[in-house]
Every structure is written in C-alpha cells, then in structure tokens.
C-alpha cells in the first residue's frame, strides 16, 4: 500500500553532540531550519537530530516556535497560509522537502496527535481508529480487526471501549478521546508520532495515563512531544529540547537538561526564573 522508502541507518558523526547521539539511530534530522509566517520569522536556524525509538520533549515558553517546529516534521505547517521555510528535514535519511515527496504519503509515516482531541464526530470508535487505513484502501477485515484491537490496546483504551466499539467516538470522556486519537494515529503504524501538547486540556489522571502510554509508544515509533509542562517533559522523555524565541537553545538527555544544563538560559527557564 505505502511505497516503502529505504530506511537509512544514519550514523551519528557529529562529535560535538556525541553525548546526545551515543550512536543511536537518527529518526528526524533537522538542518538550519528557518520558518516565516508572512514577514514574521518563527524559527531561526534550528538544527536537531531526534533519535529513533526514544521520546523527545520540546519545551519552552508560549510562542517560542515549538509547535511550529513540530509541524515541519510532517509538513503540516504548509496548511497555514503564508508559511514558508528554508533548511532541510530528513526522515531516516530522506529529504522531506524534496519536490518529489508527496506530503500525503509522508503524513502516513509521521502521525500527529493534537492539543484538542478531535475524533471525527460522524464516526464510531471503530471507524475512528480505522479511518486512515480504510481511506487508504485497506479492505481486509482480518487486518482491520487486528489493527483495531492492537491499537486500542496500545492506547490503553481497549478494556474501556471493547464492548461498545460502535458507539460514537465523541461520546467518550476527554482523556479517552485523546487516547482514541492516539490509537487512530498509531493505526497507520507511523515511524514517528508527533504530539502537540496532548495533555494540556486534560485532568491530571488522564494526563498520567497518556504519559504512561508514551513508554509503550516509543517501542513502536519515535515520539516527539511538545509540552509547556516541564514536569511532564521530565517524566516522560528521554531527550529534551529547550526552545526560546524561535531558536533551539539546548538539546540533550533529559536528566542533563534538568540537572546540569550547559546554557544559562536553560537553567533559568528550568528553575522557573522566567517563562
């Protein structure tokens, strides 16, 4: 169904970032990314290598460009009128912005979960999970049913909904809806899952469930999570990127960022002196 693009194992060669890479496979490789909305520049020369099968948190104060950066990973920023960018983003060695790349195909491999849960209101729980597969031509009942169960289990939702899969997805609670959206995204078996402040509209218990999920999810794919909640970044990420005013200030292992950051700005933000 999806043309299989070669997966290049990208060896980490940059010595300066040795401690970050530790020879892990790089999933997303961003080079000198600049992005403008009309005349306003939102991102300045961002370069970052996001390791595969790990969870990476992007933190920073509101308006620092963290969501914008995330949206360049599946070319969703192209939906915003007036957005243009320069620089490169590679997914397992392939240039996402090469003219031959079809953003629709790309988005099947880089899934996304949004701030506000958005299950399709006309569809049941089952249809919501399977919509991506069905509309991309998967007809086989057996595959669909297997994927339905595995994705709902992965999203820790199966036990709660298995007896009423044919009820509307919008009838679930806020936290359940967000997990349904995660199941929907995971049904495409993406290589990367982008999460744009997935818990900001949820209560602490629903938030905890989603944070626990991330541990499971990163066995299947690379997780990149944007959050304005530093504790959340601390709890559920392996790596953390700190952004400020459209620039990437620091990117390192999460423990290092939270205990002994290299940059003064990072320390000030982490310790709550601004932001």
């Amino acid at each position: 169904m999806v043309p299989k693009i070669m997966k290049d194992e990208v060896a980490a060669v940059n010595n300066e970032e040795e401690n970050v890479q530790e020879a892990a496979t790089v999933s997303l490789d961003v080079n000198d990314l600049c992005l403008w909305y009309g005349k306003h520049q939102a991102l300045y020369d961002v370069s970052i290598k996001i390791p595969a099968n790990k969870s990476t948190a992007i933190i920073g104060p509101s308006g620092c460009g963290k969501s914008t950066l995330l949206r360049t990973f599946n070319r969703m920023h192209e939906v915003s009128p007036g957005a243009r960018m320069s620089g490169k983003v590679h997914l397992f060695g392939e240039d996402l912005y090469s003219p031959e790349i079809d953003p629709t195909i790309l988005r099947r491999r880089v899934g996304m979960v949004f701030q506000k849960s958005n299950p399709f209101p006309t569809m049941t729980i089952r249809e919501n999970v399977l919509v991506g597969l069905r509309l991309n031509g998967v007809r086989d009942k057996k595959i669909l049913n297997e994927r339905l169960e595995s994705c709902l289990r992965m999203a820790a939702l199966w036990d709660e909904v298995k007896d009423h899969l044919d009820r509307p997805g919008t009838g679930l609670s806020g936290g359940q809806q967000q997990r349904l959206c995660i199941a929907r995204a995971m049904a495409m078996e993406p290589e990367v899952l982008l999460m744009d402040e997935p818990c900001s509209a949820l209560d602490p218990i629903a938030t905890m469930k989603i944070e626990e999920l991330i541990t499971t999810l990163k066995t299947k794919c690379t997780v990149v999570i944007v959050t304005h909640n530093m504790q959340q970044a601390g709890r559920c990420s392996d790596f953390t990127a700190f952004m400020y005013l459209g620039k990437l200030v620091e990117f390192d292992r999460t423990e290092k960022i939270f205990t002994n950051p290299d940059k003064q700005q990072t320390e000030d933000y982490i310790t709550g002196r601004f932001g």
């Binding site: 969703m76 988005r107 958005n118 006309t122 991506g132």
Partner: protein, 289 residues
Amino acid sequence: MSTTSLLASSRQNNHLWRKIKNWLMVSSSIGSALLVILPLGLVLFYLVYKGAAAINLGFFTNVPAPPGDTDGGMANAIVGSFLLLGMAVLVGAPMGILGGIYLSEYGNEKLNGAIRFCADVLNGVPSIVWSIIVYEVLVVPMRGYSLLSGGIALGLMMIPLVLRTTEEVLVLVPNSYREAALALGIARWQIIVKIVVATAYKGIITAVLVAGARIAGETAPLLFTAFGNLNWCTGLNQPVAALPLQIYAYAISAYEDWHRQAWAGALVLIGFVFIINISVRFMTRERKA
C-alpha cells in the same frame, strides 16, 4: 468619586420617564414581532376558508375538467410540480453543492469574493428573466415548451441559494477535523467527501430542501418553459402542468368552480411548502442535540 449616597442618586433619577421609555420599546418590538406572524396567519386562514371546501379525493386523482363539470382535479399539476422540483434539484443541487465545496475548501480569497458576488447577483435575478432566457436558449431550439426546460429554469434559480448555504455549513466544520485527517495522510478529496461533507451533510440537505421550498411556488420561471398542460405530461420534451401555473390559469378565469379549485390548489401548494419547512426544522433540531 461621587459622595452622594446610592439612595439619593436613585431618587434623583426620573423613574417614571424611564419606565415609559422601557414600556414603549418593549411594546413596539412585541407589536412588530406579532405583525410578522399576522400575514402568515391571514394567508393560512383565507386559504383554508376558501379552498378547503374544494379539496376532495377527486382533486388529487383527476385531471382538470371543463367549467361546469365538478369532477375536475389537479392531479396532473401536483405530479407535474413534483417532477419539476425533482428536475430542478437534479440540476441545481449538484452545481450548488460542488460550488459551495469549492468556496469552502479550495478557493482563494480573491476568486471567492467574485464568486460570492456573482451568486448574490444571480439570486437577485427576477424569476421572469430566467424564464425568458431559458425560453430563448432551450424552448426555441427544442421547438416546444417542456418539462426539461421548466426544471432547468427552476434549477438555475436554486444554484445560488444552495451554493451560499452549503458554503456556510461547510465553513462551520471545525478545522481540527481537517487537520486530523490531513495528519493521517488521507487524500484531500477524501477528506472533503468522507470527513467534511459527512460532518455537514444534514446542513447540506437542509440547504437543498430550503431552496426547493423556495422555488416550489415559483410561477414566472415556468410561464415560458413548462407552460402548463391540462393533461398528463408524457415526456421530458412535453409541456407539463404545475400547481402555481394551474392556480394562475384558474384564478384569472371567469368560472366560479375554477376559482374554488384555484384556492384549493393554493392550499395544497402551501401545505407542501409547509411540510418541507417542518422537516427542515426537524432535521436542524436533531443536529443540535
């Protein structure tokens, strides 16, 4: 800061004058609201009063009879109206809906402005003008009045109505659904058909129904196109009877029988429009729940 007490300032205020102003405002707005309902009430009352007596089974099953013969009915006109309405929906709904989809999902601001302006102008074109144009373009080359030309004249009138309403209901579909679908790697046209239109389909059906109700009673567009027929319509290229045409023909006649039938026809026509509007209300209410 004021040093006067609340009580003292309140007493200074002229209560009576304020109450009078308030009463004037409230009563004039209630009065105006009632005035809106009054004509509808009058119309319904008069139609029932004048037309109910002429409505019997024959009215729905027989074709028109010569004056003096009380057996006549409007069966052919009722069926003809439905045929014309169906034809109009076939012509007007697809174009209106697809145009609305373009405005909401694809178009750019500049072109959209121009399309909306044209649709609004089209909406204002007097219905007799549609009739003459369709006469010139279709009836003359086809050498005859026909069901086809009548349906097309009505359908053309529907387009701007359906187009603008469809656009409005599609714009109301939250962008977050489009984004979610885009992020799943679903193709643009599938997002539009399976997500956006599927979410708003009740609104779109409502748009078609409202436009249908609006044109169901149109007489002028049919004058030079469907023309009317005292018997059953036998084909797409044949003249067809329609309720409004029949009412018009009977109302200007000299016979008492026919006048009564005209009233009955008007009552039936408004009954149909009523039913459409009530079903629209029913559908929109369900959507809110």
